[in-house]
């Protein structure tokens, strides 16, 4: 694995943290690129960033950051590499006031005191914290600390910026402002950035490409919107806010089962027709699915009716399901149904009219224009490096 021109980060990071967890990820980030990193809690995202920042040692692999190599033995100085990590904890210097925290990186690079203070104040203003410069970090709220830490990281103009959930614990309004600021700043300074986030919206708004890490391994990577639109795993689908149903291709449509009865979902999307009998997944938004009361109010009754119907040709894109859970949502409710497991969003107006409760039979339908069918590629576009299998759970 050799770095080519224009590559900022290139190589393979292996970190064994414990008997049950090992991170093993290949990375290839271009100069000025923003790479989103998503993954479930405990998947190894922070470990990856810490390894790149030199905070934990590699136990294997080899990674080139700029023109410097880091291996298990050789351990370059992050300062000389120009790598700045904003970790999950803000770690603001408790003995310095907020202004000096933000100005720290400038000061240690020799910027005169007055100028670094002025720049720090400018950053605070951009973060919506003007006038807070004299406060100690402990006198700030959680979200304010988060913003100060972000300002401190950005103010140093690093060559490689590692952001570990920078917008977490911010409200929607503030997060939107900071997201805009971050977008501008990173685009303007062409800073190579790895951005860990749990929010697909952040990833889409800020990053160019994305890697998904699950249990220490990359499960999907590629263009952000592409990944979110064609989720390879349940986790990605959830993150993108999509239902993802596994089934088999048949006649160019998705087929599966619901309580033993066949279900067929068609798609009006163009593209290559999936080969029959190959595994595919159907993907659609919870808001696009429709739900209606079954004609029979008892589950057994409804099931019998459905079974009788199924004798004939079942209506495509419609099937009998059972309500598992009702979750109120801002504009209505989210209904979780089985089988197959999926979510349906219904607007407030419909909630009362529908009058359903867990256990009730319902008819779920999805129109072909909202469905995307994706062939399952296993192990997918992910460069495989799963030599060591003992470490997976």
């Amino acid at each position: 694995m050799s770095g080519h021109a224009g590559t900022a980060v290139d190589g393979r990071v292996v970190v064994r943290r414990s008997r049950r967890f090992e991170l093993d990820v290949e990375l290839d980030v271009e100069h000025g690129e923003i790479l989103a990193v998503m993954g479930p809690s405990g998947a190894g995202k922070s470990t990856l960033l810490q390894a790149l920042a030199g905070e934990v040692r590699l136990t294997g692999g080899e990674i080139a950051i700029g023109d410097q190599g880091v291996t298990r033995r050789h351990h370059a100085d992050p300062r000389r590499r120009g790598v700045v990590l904003l970790g999950q904890k803000p770690l603001l210097f408790p003995h310095l006031d907020v202004r000096d925290n933000v100005g720290f990186g400038l000061r240690v690079r020799g910027t005169p005191r007055a100028r670094s203070r002025a720049e720090a104040d400018e950053w605070l203003w951009r973060m919506g914290l003007s006038g807070m410069g004299d406060h100690r970090p402990r006198e700030l709220s959680g979200g304010q600390q988060q913003r100060v830490a972000l300002a401190r990281a950005l103010a140093t103009s690093p060559r490689l910026l590692l952001l570990d959930e920078p917008l977490t614990s911010l409200d929607v309004d503030t997060a939107s402002d900071i997201r805009g600021l971050l977008h501008e700043q990173l685009a303007f300074t062409l800073t190579t950035t790895l951005l860990v986030t749990h929010d697909a919206f952040d990833a889409a708004a800020l990053a160019h490409r994305m890697v998904v890490i699950e249990d220490g391994r990359v499960t999907q990577r590629g263009d952000v919107r592409e990944v979110l639109a064609r989720p390879a795993t349940r986790f990605v689908a959830m993150s993108a806010g999509l239902n993802r149903l596994s089934g088999t291709a048949h006649d160019g449509a998705w087929t599966g089962e619901s309580f033993g009865l066949p279900v067929r979902i068609a798609s009006s999307e163009g593209g290559p027709r999936p080969a029959d009998h190959t595994p595919i997944v159907a993907v659609f938004r919870p808001a696009d699915a429709r739900i209606a009361r079954a004609e029979e109010t008892t589950w057994t009754g409804a099931f019998h009716t459905a079974r009788d119907e199924a004798e004939g040709e079942p209506a495509p894109g419609e099937w009998l399901a059972r309500v598992a859970r009702l979750e109120p949502a801002p504009g209505g409710a989210r209904v979780h149904v089985t089988e197959p497991d999926l979510a349906v969003d219904i607007p407030s107006a419909q909630v009362a009219a529908l009058g359903i409760a867990p256990g009730d039979p319902v008819r779920v339908s999805i129109a072909p224009e909202h469905v995307r069918l994706i062939p399952v590629v296993e192990p997918g576009p992910v460069p495989s490096s799963r030599a060591d299998d003992s470490s997976s759970r």
Partner: protein, 277 residues
């Protein structure tokens, strides 16, 4: 409400402390245990002769010598001891444990034995002593010897106090500083030392107190020449030991030493390293 008040308010607002109130009983006992003997000492002061005793030229020169040598010794201890403390705090677990014990050892020596050890090392019959002598740096009977004796007995206190707080402060902030581009020296100066400030102040205080109270090693190693090596504790001891001399003057000198140190400590307490940048 002015800004100053407000900052003070938010900083002083007492974190609700949740310790069981009953532990105030042993705490007060401990305090009494430390204070009552001092009170008994003060009660024995002969106020009529007090002024004469403490204004005597020898007493004054001993006090000046004590404060000067103790200050120099404390400075030297800080210069070499803080680095040692940092090195121990950041050493691998086992090495750190061994070093900590090694540093503690000199504490155990009765100071007089420490003085003998110093004599053995720097005295005329040891290679080091002969070498120093030929370089014109003979230590014994000089004020420098007083400082050396004080450093020897006081250094462990500083190291142990500072080591604890450097270790507790951890390395998170240091690594953050390095990642933000700070050099190791800058990190030391701007992050490590200020974060360990409490421990450094405690260490400096312990060190100074031990140095200024040092008697045994000094008596043996440096001798007792008024104006050159006779520090307050030696003056007190001489006054106490003198046959037929009134012990009142020993008590008076002890009181003088106490008050001086009290003043110095209260001044030091107001100081925090790293505040001035």
């Amino acid at each position: 409400m002015t800004k100053g008040e407000n900052m003070a308010m938010s900083r002083d607002a007492p974190a609700r402390s949740v310790f069981p109130r009953l532990i105030l009983i042993p705490a007060v006992l401990a305090l009494l245990f430390l204070l009552l003997p001092l009170a008994a000492l003060v009660a024995r002061v002969e106020w009529t002769s007090l002024w004469a005793d403490i204004a005597a030229p020898d007493a004054v020169s001993a006090l000046v010598l004590s404060v000067t040598t103790a200050a120099i010794a404390t400075a030297v201890c800080a210069v070499v001891g803080i680095p040692l403390a940092i090195a121990i705090a950041r050493a691998p677990r086992v090495l750190a444990a061994v070093l900590r014990v090694v540093v503690t050892i000199p504490l155990v020596l009765p100071p007089m034995v420490g003085g003998v050890a110093l004599l053995f090392l720097y005295g005329g019959s040891s290679p080091v002593g002969i070498w120093l002598d030929s370089a014109g740096l003979a230590l014994p009977f000089t004020t420098a010897a007083v400082v050396v004796a004080q450093i020897f007995v006081a250094l462990p206190f500083l190291v142990i106090a500072v080591e604890g707080s450097v270790r507790t402060a951890g390395t998170d902030y240091e690594r953050t500083a390095v990642a933000l581009g700070a050099s190791r020296w800058t990190t030391l100066r701007r992050i490590t030392l200020p974060l360990a400030a409490d421990g450094i102040v405690a260490g400096v205080i312990l060190c100074f107190a031990r140095a200024i109270g040092e008697f045994g090693a000094t008596a043996l190693f440096a001798g007792n020449a008024p104006g050159v090596t006779q520090t307050m504790p030696l003056a007190i001891y001489t006054a106490f030991n003198g046959s037929g001399v009134d012990q009142g003057s020993a008590v008076a000198l002890a009181l003088l030493l106490l008050v001086t140190v009290l003043v110095v400590l209260l001044v030091v307490r107001g100081w925090r390293p790293g505040r001035i940048r």
